[in-house]
C-alpha cells in the first residue's frame, strides 16, 4: 500500500495554522514586497498611459490592419483568460474529485483567476476600437429600434461567457474567504482592522447551521463552475472555429483550447507559487514540494495534450485534401512566421518533457524556469493561431504581414503590471491560503495524537 504523504508539514496545531497564514497580513510590508509592488505599479502606470494614448489617438497605433485584423489585443486576451482556467480547475474540479492537496493552493490560484480575467477582459473592450460604446455589447432596450445584439455571433457568446465567468469566479472566491475574514476579524488588535474585516466577513458566526449551508453552497458553486470553465474556453475557441478561415475552422479547437488553457494556467500557478514560497518561507509547510510536483505532472500531461493537438491539426489538414487548409499549416511551420511556430513547439511540447524526471519535478529553480517557458510558449500559441492564419488566407493578392508596433509591446508588457499590482495587493490584505480549508486536512498522512 502506498502511504499518504502529509499535506501539511511540521507539528502544527490549529492555532499555528492560523498564526502562520495570518502573519503576512498583520505585519508591515517587507522591503522585497515594496520593491516588487513599486515595480508593478510603475508598469501598470506605463500600461494606463499607453492605453490612454491608444484610446485618444485610435487603434491604428497598434499593428492590427488589413489583412491581420486581430492582433495583440485578441492574442493577449486569450492568453490571460486561459491562465484563469487553472485557478478554477484547482478550486472547483479538483474539489469535486476530492483532491485534498488542492486546499493550500486553491485560494491563491483562484485569486490568480480573478485577476487574470480582469486583465483579459480589458483587451476585447479596447479592440472594439470605440470602447466608449462597449455597452452596445449588452442586449438592453435602446432607442435604435430597439436593435438587438446578434445572438448568432460567437463574439457575443464570448461576452456572456466571460462576464458570467468573471462574476461566478469572484463570488466563488469570496464565499471561500468569508470564514477566513471572520478569523482575521477576531484576531484584529486595532479598531479599523476589526471594522474592515468585520464588514468583509459579513457577520459570519461559524455555527453548524452556518457551515451546513456554506458547505452545500460551496459544493454547488464547484459543480456549476466546472462546466462553466470548460464552456468559457470552448466559446473563446468558437470565436475562431466558427469562422471559415483556414487554420481556424477546425472541430478540434474546443478541447485543444481547454487543454492549452489549463496548461498555461498551471504554468502561471507554478510561477506564482515559487514566488509566494520565496516571499513567505512559513508557507513552505503548506505549499510543499509534493504540491509543486503534482502540478508539474499536470503541466506535463496537458503539455502533451496540446502537442497532440498540434500534430492532429497537421494530419487533418493533409487528410482533408483542402489545398488552402494544407497551405495554412505548412505556412505556419515554414512561412515568414516560422520562428513563432517553433518557439511555441519548443516551449509547450519539448521543454515540459523534462518533467518526466523526478529531479526537475521537485527542483524549485528548474520548475520556475520551465514555467516561464510555458507562459512564453502559450502566448506564442495564440499568436500563431491568430496571426499566421490571418496573414495568408485564400487569395495571395490578399496577403500581408502583421505590423508589430511599439504600442503592441507596451500593452502586452503593461498588462503584467496590472496583473501583478492586483496580485501583490491581494497578498497583503487577504489570507493567501484558505485557513478553514487547511485545518480539516491537517492530519492527512499523519496519525492524530503523534503531534
Amino acid at each position: 500500500m502506498i502511504e499518504r504523504r502529509p499535506l501539511v508539514l511540521g507539528d502544527k496545531t490549529y492555532k499555528d495554522i492560523t498564526d502562520d497564514i495570518c502573519a503576512p497580513v498583520e505585519v508591515l510590508p517587507s522591503k522585497g514586497w515594496i520593491l516588487l509592488f513599486t515595480g508593478a505599479v510603475s508598469l501598470f502606470a506605463f500600461y494606463l498611459t499607453h492605453m490612454g494614448i491608444i484610446l485618444g489617438t485610435g487603434m491604428g497605433l497598434m499593428g492590427t490592419n488589413h489583412p491581420v485584423g486581430w492582433g495583440t489585443d485578441i492574442v493577449t486576451f486569450v492568453f490571460w483568460i486561459g491562465i484563469g482556467h487553472a485557478g478554477t480547475l484547482i478550486s472547483a474540479i479538483l474539489f469535486l474529485f476530492r483532491q485534498k492537496w488542492r486546499t493550500s493552493v486553491a485560494r491563491t490560484a483562484e485569486a490568480m483567476t480573478v485577476f487574470a480575467v480582469f486583465t483579459a477582459g480589458l483587451f476585447p473592450l479596447i479592440h472594439t476600437g470605440r470602447p466608449w460604446l462597449d455597452f452596445w455589447l449588452l442586449p438592453y432596450p435602446n432607442q435604435r429600434g430597439p436593435l438587438w445584439v446578434n445572438f448568432r455571433s460567437p463574439l457575443l457568446w464570448d461576452v456572456f461567457a466571460v462576464s458570467t465567468y468573471t462574476t461566478v469566479s469572484i463570488v466563488f472566491w469570496y464565499v471561500g474567504l468569508i470564514p477566513d475574514f471572520a478569523t482575521l476579524r477576531d484576531r484584529a488588535k486595532n479598531k479599523i482592522r476589526k471594522l474592515v474585516y468585520g464588514v468583509l466577513s459579513l457577520g459570519w458566526r461559524g455555527t453548524t447551521r452556518n457551515w451546513s449551508h456554506y458547505e452545500i453552497v460551496y459544493m454547488l458553486l464547484a459543480g456549476l463552475a466546472t462546466p462553466l470553465v470548460l464552456s468559457v474556453h470552448t466559446i473563446v475557441s468558437f470565436d475562431f472555429a466558427v469562422s471559415g478561415l483556414p487554420g481556424w475552422h477546425t472541430t478540434i479547437f474546443p478541447p485543444y483550447f481547454v487543454a492549452g488553457a489549463i496548461f498555461s494556467g498551471f504554468g502561471m500557478v507554478i510561477t506564482l507559487m515559487v514566488l509566494v514560497r520565496a516571499a513567505y518561507p512559513a508557507f513552505k509547510d503548506y505549499i510543499t514540494i509534493d504540491h509543486m510536483e503534482v502540478m508539474n505532472k499536470i503541466i506535463m500531461t496537458t503539455g502533451m495534450m496540446v502537442g497532440y493537438a498540434y500534430a492532429s491539426e497537421f494530419f487533418i489538414a493533409w487528410y482533408s485534401g483542402v489545398e488552402v487548409e494544407q497551405y495554412a499549416f505548412i505556412n505556419r511551420a515554414t512561412g515568414p512566421y516560422w520562428w513563432s511556430y517553433w518557439i511555441m513547439v519548443t516551449c509547450n511540447v519539448v521543454i515540459p518533457q523534462l518533467f518526466w524526471f523526478k529531479f526537475f519535478r521537485r527542483n524549485i529553480t528548474a520548475m520556475f524556469i520551465i514555467s516561464i517557458f510555458v507562459n512564453i510558449g502559450m502566448w506564442f500559441e495564440r499568436f500563431v493561431i491568430t496571426v499566421t492564419s490571418l496573414h495568408r488566407d485564400f487569395l495571395p493578392s490578399n496577403w500581408g504581414m502583421y505590423e508589430w508596433s511599439w504600442f503592441d509591446t507596451a500593452i502586452l508588457c503593461g498588462s503584467f503590471g496590472m496583473f501583478f499590482t492586483l496580485f501583490l495587493g491581494y497578498l497583503r490584505v487577504f489570507p493567501a491560503i484558505s485557513i478553514a480549508e487547511v485545518k480539516p486536512v491537517l492530519y492527512v498522512g499523519k496519525k492524530k495524537g503523534e503531534h
Binding site: Y14, T167, G203, S231, I235
Partner: protein, 186 residues
C-alpha cells in the same frame, strides 16, 4: 428623519442575540462526541460553533440537509428559460434580422448564451439563498471567544431551548467535559 433611517438600517444589519450558556472544547472530536450526547439528551435548539466545518458535526447536532440545492435547480431552470426566451424574443419576434440564412429562431446558435445564463442564475441565487438561510450580511456578530474562529470549539445552548434552566445546562456541560462554561449572549 435621517437618524431614524440610519437606526432602521442599523437594526436591520445588527446581528440579533439571545442569552444562553456556552462551553468550550479544545478538540474537534471531543466536541462532536459531546454534541451527540447533548442531542441524545433531548436538546433541540443547541448549536456548535467551530472554526472550520467539522466532519460529523451536522449529524451530531441534528442539522437537516440544506435545502439550497432546490433553489439552485429552480433558479437554474429559470435562467435557462429566461436566456432562451430573451434570444427568441429579440431575434425572432421584436426585430427579426436575417443572419447568414439561418432561421430566425436558430436554436443551436442560442445554446451557448442559454447555458451561461443557466449557470449565472443558478450560482448567484445559491449564494443569495445561503445568505438568506444564514441571515447574512450582518455587522457586529457577537463573539463568545476570539479563538472560536481559530482553534477552539464550543457548544451553545440558547435560552429559547424548551425547559431551559441555566444551572442544569451548566451541570450537563460539565458532565460532557466542557471547559470554561459560562453564560453569555450569542
Amino acid at each position: 428623519m435621517i437618524d431614524s433611517i440610519i437606526d432602521k438600517v442599523n437594526n436591520l444589519l445588527r446581528s440579533p442575540t439571545t442569552k444562553g450558556v456556552v462551553g468550550f472544547f479544545d478538540d474537534d472530536h471531543e466536541c462532536v462526541v459531546a454534541a451527540t450526547k447533548m442531542r441524545e439528551a433531548g436538546y433541540k435548539h443547541f448549536d456548535a460553533i467551530t472554526p472550520f466545518p467539522v466532519h460529523g458535526m451536522e449529524e451530531a447536532v441534528g442539522v437537516k440537509r440544506s435545502p439550497i440545492p432546490y433553489v439552485t435547480f429552480v433558479m437554474g431552470l429559470t435562467g435557462c428559460s429566461a436566456g432562451l426566451f430573451l434570444q427568441y424574443w429579440t431575434s425572432a419576434v421584436d426585430w427579426p434580422v436575417l443572419v447568414g440564412g439561418m432561421p430566425m429562431f436558430s436554436l443551436p446558435a442560442f445554446i451557448p448564451v442559454t447555458f451561461e445564463t443557466t449557470i449565472l442564475f443558478g450560482a448567484l441565487s445559491s449564494v443569495a439563498a445561503m445568505f438568506a438561510f444564514n441571515k447574512l450580511p450582518k455587522v457586529d456578530p457577537p463573539v463568545l471567544d476570539p479563538l472560536l474562529t481559530c482553534s477552539r470549539f464550543a457548544l451553545w445552548v440558547p435560552s429559547t431551548e424548551p425547559g431551559y434552566n441555566e444551572d442544569k445546562v451548566k451541570a450537563f456541560m460539565e458532565e460532557l467535559g466542557a471547559k470554561d462554561i459560562k453564560s453569555g449572549e450569542f
